[in-house]
């Protein structure tokens, strides 16, 4: 079945002590689909991100990658399996170059003996980083510039470009447009849309509802740890989405005002 989810959470429940953060949550992402994940503060978005990224294990329920149940022991394991997560404010290393950041933790070494000694192949990394960022739709001048010379929007674009370049299946973006101006957000949203063109599944978490409505294909609304709506983006208006989030309305296709 072509439309089978690439990544899925089924019946995920998670509590911290007496706090029930997630209750029986289902979420599915298809290849080439951007799923918006919205909800008020404390609705469980961050917890769900942590479960998807492998940082936390659900108490019950499971995540499925390509239909196979997986129990991530660490974010690194999920990373290796092709799931990239961009945490809110995790950011980049400002003192490293753009290409140093793109290849952070996955450095290319020189061929031969020098490589065995741990010598970096900076030229090759700069070349590939430039290509990958351009492919992700990010036009940056000079990938050998330090990140601390970039604007906030450029930094975020690089962070997302990095995730897009490495992700093989899914990227999870937690508040990628936070603290960004309108033009910079626009650039970031373009990169997110580009990830869809590359056949990645994208989970897009944001408080900024216009961004969610603009870029996603489907929206999942969490409230008090439960999924209260899971509908195509087209069935929401800005007003109805807000009403579903706050609990004033049950679905996106309610009466339009």
């Amino acid at each position: 079945m072509a439309d089978a989810p690439i990544y899925e959470a089924r019946g995920v429940t998670k509590s911290y002590g007496s706090v029930q953060a997630l209750t029986d949550v289902d979420l599915s992402i298809r290849a080439g689909e951007i799923v918006g994940l919205v909800g008020d503060n404390g609705a469980g978005k961050s917890t769900l991100v942590k479960v998807l990224s492998g940082a936390h294990q659900p108490d019950s329920g499971s995540v499925y990658l390509d239909g196979v149940a997986r129990a991530w022991k660490s974010p690194h394991e999920a990373l290796e399996a092709g799931i990239e997560t961009l945490y809110q404010d995790s950011g980049l290393c400002p003192d490293l170059t753009v290409s140093g950041n793109v290849f952070l933790g996955r450095e290319k070494l020189r061929p031969g003996l020098l490589g065995k000694l741990g010598f970096l192949d900076n030229k090759a990394m700069a070349r590939v980083a430039h290509e990958e960022l351009e492919r992700a739709g990010i036009g940056l001048t000079g990938v050998r510039r330090n990140v601390n010379q970039l604007s906030g929007g450029q930094r975020q674009a690089v962070a997302i470009g990095r995730a897009v370049a490495w992700a093989r299946k899914v990227i999870v973006l937690d508040e990628p447009t936070n603290h960004l101006g309108a033009r910079q957000s626009g650039e970031v949203l373009k990169v997110v849309a580009g990830a869809r063109e590359r056949g990645l599944g994208v989970v897009f978490i944001s408080h900024t509802l216009p961004h969610v409505l603009q870029v996603t294909d489907r929206i999942v609304v969490l409230r008090l740890g439960r999924v209260v709506a899971d509908e195509p983006t087209s069935s929401f208006t800005p007003d109805s989405l807000l009403k579903v989030i706050t609990g004033l309305q049950a679905t996106g296709t309610g009466p339009k005002t």
């Binding site: 974010p75 690194h76 990373l79 997560t85 945490y87 995790s90 950011g91 980049l92 290393c93 400002p94 003192d95 490293l96 140093g100 950041n101 952070l104 933790g105 996955r106 450095e107 070494l109 000694l117 741990g118 010598f119 970096l120 036009g139 001048t141 000079g142 050998r144 510039r145 601390n148 010379q149 970039l150 604007s151």
Partner: protein
Amino acid sequence: MTADTMQQDATETRGARLKAVLLRQDVILLGVLVVMVVFFTTMNPLFFTRFAFANILQDWAPVMLLAMGQTYVIITGGIDLSVGSTLGLSGVAAAMTMRSLNEGGTATGATIAVGVVVALATGLAVGLVNGLLITRAKLAPFIATLATMGAGAGLTLVLTGGVQIAGGPVEVIRLGNTQYLNLLTIPLIIVFAVLAVTWLVLSFTRFGRWTYAVGSNGFAARGAGIGVDRHLLKVYMLAGLMAGLAGLFVYFRLGSGSPTSGQGQELAAIAAAVIGGTSLVGGSGRMSGTVLGALITTAVLSGLILIGVAPNWQQVVIGLLIAVAVGVQQINVRTRKGAGRG
């Protein structure tokens, strides 16, 4: 983007980078060094002699060894206050080992070899303790290394009873002080070799890259799959190893183990790194800067002695140098932040 504008951008950033480097780092330090040399030479012509230079190099070497480790540590955003007392402890440990082997009639070569191993192992062990306190016990580097600094200095006094440890093989002094080309001793040559390795590793390898990454944004480094704690452990062990080597250097130079030989040396090492442009905030710094920083601190101290300033002023001068260097850095950071906006 067209190839043309790319080329132009590349040239522009290259030009800007060149200008930044010229303005900020090594060239300024080199200028400071030249001014100092001219000043001290006019005050006392003895300063500009081969003899004085050889002496400065001998003073420079242990400071440089400590400063190499310190550069790595400070780039990770930490600090190692224990390196001075580790220098003393490992020097004394080597001296005591060699004395007892020598008195027991062990061959000179074997005695020296065991002494070398003991000193390096002592340094590594202190580094390991530092690393574990920081990564496992989650102590701030300042606190962890303050504790080992005190413990190391105390242990040195306990072991020696506060007296010099002589009685090692006499060849030690010859090995440590025979000059080749009227300038270089074997220990000095080893220091240069170690410097080359630590510089290459910091600037060109993955280990170096991760050192910067950990100090620049530890959270991002962890997110990228880097074993941050593991890396920190290695960096503090490197600093300890360098301190052990410095202890050996001092022992070979003096021919005896002095319990107070490391006193205040951590300050000199931190000064060298910071004067060389390594930021105490972490994430930036270069070994070439540290080399010049260590040269400046040791040349100042030699120069002051040559123009008749009492040696007791040394710590005061080093303290002043650190304050000035950090002050200059902060001005730099402020202007860079202003320029980088937009």
